[in-house]
């Protein structure tokens, strides 16, 4: 079983997002992922994530959003993380603002891996302690990765 901690790079973690709306958040995190070399075509990636949002918000509740899409703008599977202290209006299902945003993209060739990663991430994020530690305790990108390792191990 592949693990999020094997793919989430510390460079791809944005510890304080400035955006306050869904689209701004997607643009800001995508821009960051492009700057660190995970996304080849930033505009295409943004467009693919926004198109996916039109099917329904990826704000899955409990202050979490996972914007995601298969896209030709990346090589393989990529993941980026952003945290917003103020919260982002992501039109989440529970109506709450979102503090934790994970953007995922995959080249269509890695669809199977991408779905496994989506599943694993959503399962981990069901854990309230994990979410709270990501929101309140993690100070650095390294802390984020270490939290993933810790909670992946705990299952």
């Amino acid at each position: 079983m592949e693990r999020i901690s094997e793919y989430l790079q510390k460079e791809a973690c944005l510890m304080e997002l400035k955006a306050t709306t869904k689209e701004e958040a997607i643009r800001e995190l995508s821009g960051h992922m492009a700057r660190v070399g995970l996304v080849n075509d930033e505009q295409q990636f943004i467009q693919d994530l926004i198109e996916r949002e039109k099917l329904g918000s990826t704000g899955i509740g409990h202050k979490v959003a996972i914007p995601h899409a298969p896209t030709q703008s990346v090589d393989g599977f990529v993941i980026g993380f952003a945290r917003s202290s103020a919260g982002v209006d992501f039109a989440a299902m529970d109506g709450d603002e979102v503090n934790l945003i994970f953007a995922m993209g995959t080249n269509p060739q890695e669809l199977s891996l991408y779905l496994q990663m989506l599943s694993q991430l959503s399962r981990l994020l069901r854990n309230e302690t994990f979410r709270n530690e990501l929101i309140h305790t993690a100070k650095t990108p390294e802390d984020v990765i270490n939290l993933f390792k810790k909670f992946e191990k705990e299952g």
């Binding site: 079983m1 899955i60 509740g61 199977s112």
Partner: protein, 160 residues
């Protein structure tokens, strides 16, 4: 007792090519028939819909894409098997990966199941949820875990 039927479980990707090459090698040296199986993990898609990460229409597109990718991948293995003069058939299944493979293995009187190396297990939960781990543990026939890609490539090249 001759090993008449070998089954190889593939998931796509580079690691699965190595697994398939070793299965082709075994089938050739043992004069066995080789069946390659790819499973569209419907349970995973259902779980993603249940957790509302994926919407219905999206899941249907993914399901179709996975099936297409599976077919293309199996076609690639078929060509490799034909090159090495191995009797070959392939099947795309849908459902829970380990259950479908085990069922098919029983239906086809598989004597030996060849699979990729399951990931290192780091939590107790993974023992009961990792499809590779479950396949390895619950298979009703002997299982070969493929390791050492360099050695596999070498063996594969040896058969003509």
């Amino acid at each position: 007792m001759p090993i008449k039927n070998i089954m190889v479980a593939v998931a796509g990707g580079a690691a699965s090519i190595i697994t398939a090459k070793y299965a082709i090698y075994l089938a050739r040296v043992m004069s066995s028939k080789l069946t390659a199986v790819y499973v569209v993990n419907e349970r995973l898609l259902q779980d993603l819909m249940r957790s509302r990460v994926v919407v219905d229409i999206e899941a249907r597109v993914y399901e179709k894409d996975l099936e297409e990718q599976g077919k293309l991948f199996l076609e690639r293995i078929k060509k490799a098997a034909e090159t090495k003069k191995v009797e070959f058939e392939s099947v795309v299944l849908r459902g829970l990966v380990h259950e479908e493979i085990i069922k098919k293995a029983q239906e086809t009187s598989t004597c030996l199941l060849v699979m990729g190396n399951p990931r290192e297990i780091t939590s107790r939960k993974e023992v009961f949820s990792d499809e590779g781990e479950l396949l390895f543990r619950e298979a009703k026939c002997p299982v070969v875990i493929v390791k050492n890609p360099e050695e596999v490539e070498k063996l594969y090249k040896e058969i003509t």
